[in-house]
């Protein structure tokens, strides 16, 4: 009979085989091999540890990226106020943007109000146009259309999302600008053209999110309303739209965020004049358009360059604000 024994030799376990009877004379511990197996790290546990490490590191990488985007842009953007001693009030409310020149007191002319106005102008006008269209299309898809119509609209929305922004810009340049010039006057470049282009660009975003929120309305709401004898429109207006309000608002805010951050398509049609826009038809500029034009033409570390980074910081903060608004609406909607 062969008996396996584990003998402690100077603190280490070693396996001994004995020919005949076990020798109980020394310090011998009999240990179950199964116990040993259970107590040690199994292959499965090791796989799990590897999996956890991998997925945690991937997710941490994303968080680090986001944090460093904020850190880098904030450092650069705040330099205007810390290093170059520009005043925040002048930056936000000044109307004279000419970083290479200085005013009488020797401060650089960094009034960003023209760009801020331009950005908000195109965004708000685009969304005012887009919201009714998006809600109408979403209602068509969820309430009116047949299965085929719904599928058709679904593909239309997906394609509209897919069209690259430079292509929108190019169409804006070749179609919208001449259209505005002949029908509204002016050079054709301006906030109105920018808003037209953005209208088409945010339409699919707002529509598909509105569709989602309309679909989330419980079916029995609709059934109850129809059972009361309400017409389809009464049901839509008094029940569906009311209970989907927070979702629709979220969709509109997302549309605004997209419009606010869009760079190239707007830059191509807005005319890029860093002056206070006098009308919707006059050439103007947005935060993004000045950024795309300017970063390459200024030298790192100069006032002009830092001021551009301040604009970038502002874009970043605005996108944060839109996010916060969405969260706020979401919380309200749940109550």
């Amino acid at each position: 009979m062969i008996v396996k024994q584990w003998v402690i030799n100077g603190g280490e376990l070693s396996e001994n085989s004995f020919g005949s009877l076990p020798n109980f004379g020394g310090e011998v511990i009999l240990m179950d091999p199964i116990k040993d197996k259970i107590q040690s790290t199994s292959r499965e546990t090791r796989q799990d540890i590897i999996g956890k490490v991998l997925s945690y590191s991937c997710i941490s990488l994303i968080v680090i990226v986001v944090l460093s985007i904020f850190a880098f842009v904030a450092t650069k953007g705040l330099a205007t106020f810390v290093v170059n001693k520009a005043s925040l009030g002048d930056f936000l409310f000044g109307t004279n943007w000419n970083p290479s020149a200085t005013d009488k007191a020797g401060n650089p002319l960094l009034g960003a109000l023209p760009m801020i106005t331009g950005s908000f102008g195109v965004t708000i006008i685009a969304v005012i146009f887009a919201a009714p269209f998006a809600i109408g299309t979403a209602l068509y898809m969820t309430e009116v259309a047949s299965k085929h119509g719904e599928k058709l609209l679904q593909s239309v929305i997906e394609l509209l999302v897919g069209i690259p922004s430079v292509v929108y810009g190019f169409i804006g340049l070749s179609v919208v600008v001449p259209f505005v010039r002949t029908h509204f006057g002016g050079s054709g470049y301006g906030i109105l053209s920018g808003a037209f282009v953005l209208f088409v660009m945010v339409l699919p975003t707002v529509t598909s999110m509105t569709v989602d929120s309309l679909r989330a309305v419980p079916r029995y709401y609709k059934e109850a309303s129809l059972a009361l004898g309400a017409t389809k429109w009464q049901t839509i207006y008094k029940v569906l739209l009311r209970s989907a309000t927070s979702g629709i608002l979220t969709a509109i805010i997302f549309g605004m965020a997209r419009a606010f951050g869009e760079a190239l398509a707007v830059q191509m049609v807005i005319g890029n004049a860093t002056i206070m826009p006098k009308s919707l038809l006059a050439p103007a500029s947005t935060l993004t358009s000045v950024l795309t034009m300017g970063i390459g033409n200024t030298v790192m570390g100069t006032v002009g360059n830092n001021a551009l980074w301040s604009l970038a910081l502002m874009l970043l903060l605005m996108s944060l604000v839109f996010n916060i608004i969405v969260r706020f609406i979401g919380r309200k909607g749940r109550m």
Binding site: E44, L61, I62, V73, Y140, L159, V166, L264
Partner: protein
């Protein structure tokens, strides 16, 4: 009767709006394709671009776009796969997960020009990589990560818990359950998402202007050594993509046929996006059929 009339008017208005949206798309596609397709020829697709004379092509830009897209996918897919697995399988309900979700949401809503500027600051300037394909691919990765992560998470979540329980009850580790049981089942959804994301990356320009640069250096298609500066595979050469090219010739192009070149390029870009959209659906369906017992 009044309510009936109201109802009819309202429904008609909704129909008209939907029809208008279809018309907008039809007009956009029609305009791009009709004005662009006549300019597309083999010469246009393969020749180098011209800065001052007409007759230039988009060969280099087209290659750059495809190469950059592949690089971006190679970098971003593993990261978002890990992140997606974390969010759907491992994420505990705590403040870390909440922070992570918020970070991804914020990243996905950041203007792409800001992402591009960050890439410019970190890679092009600080790390001294210059305008290069690699900087561009990393910037596009940042741009692509949140969408891809969310898509992978959703696809994984859609797999019923029964499958997870089955895997675990066979004694598989959680990791093996995820990679061998859950992932294959979620694959069709993931692939569809990746291809749709690829379409977006292919058309992105704002994030690339200051990372991959705005110049198409001459590349020698006979030289495939990635360490040679004229090789198409070189990671450190500046690379203007098709989308950036369209932007550039429209904002500062001086060649006489700028309008024709941008019309042609836009058509190529749109056709590429259409192909991506279409193949996303086809590949997804095919995979689903292959991996499941659906007929």
């Amino acid at each position: 009767m009044k309510t009936k009339l109201q109802n009819n008017i309202a429904i008609t208005v909704i129909r008209v709006i939907a029809a208008l949206v279809v018309l907008i798309l039809a007009f956009l596609l029609g305009d791009i394709l009709i004005s662009g397709i006549p300019h597309i020829s083999w010469h246009f697709l393969t020749a180098a671009s011209q800065s001052f004379t007409s007759g230039g092509g988009i060969g280099v830009q087209l290659f750059n776009s495809i190469y950059l897209l592949l690089l971006t996918l190679i970098i971003s897919f593993p990261i978002s796969l890990g992140a997606g697995i974390f969010l759907s399988e491992y994420a505990p309900k705590n403040i870390f997960t909440a922070t992570v979700r918020m970070a991804i949401e914020v990243l996905s809503s950041l203007p792409s020009v800001v992402v591009g500027l960050f890439g410019f600051l970190l890679f092009v300037v600080q790390m001294d990589m210059g305008f290069s394909i690699l900087s561009g691919a990393i910037a596009l990765t940042f741009f692509n990560l949140p969408l891809l992560t969310r898509n992978i998470e959703e696809s994984l979540r859609a797999v019923p818990d029964l499958q997870r329980e089955a895997g675990l009850s066979l004694g598989l580790s959680k990791w093996k359950t995820v990679t061998k049981v859950i992932l294959p089942e979620a694959l069709p959804g993931i692939v569809t998402g990746v291809v749709l994301g690829a379409g977006r990356v292919f058309g992105e320009a704002a994030a690339l202007i200051y990372t991959a640069g705005q110049s198409a250096t001459n590349i020698n298609f006979g030289n495939w050594n990635p360490f040679n500066s004229t090789s198409p595979l070189n990671l450190m050469r500046p690379a203007e993509t098709l989308a950036v090219h369209i932007w550039k010739i429209n904002s500062e192009g001086v060649m006489p046929d700028a309008a024709a070149v941008s019309a042609g390029s836009s058509a190529v870009l749109i056709i590429a996006v259409l192909i991506f959209n279409f193949s996303a659906r086809v590949i997804g369906n095919q995979l689903y059929r292959k991996l499941t017992a659906t007929k």
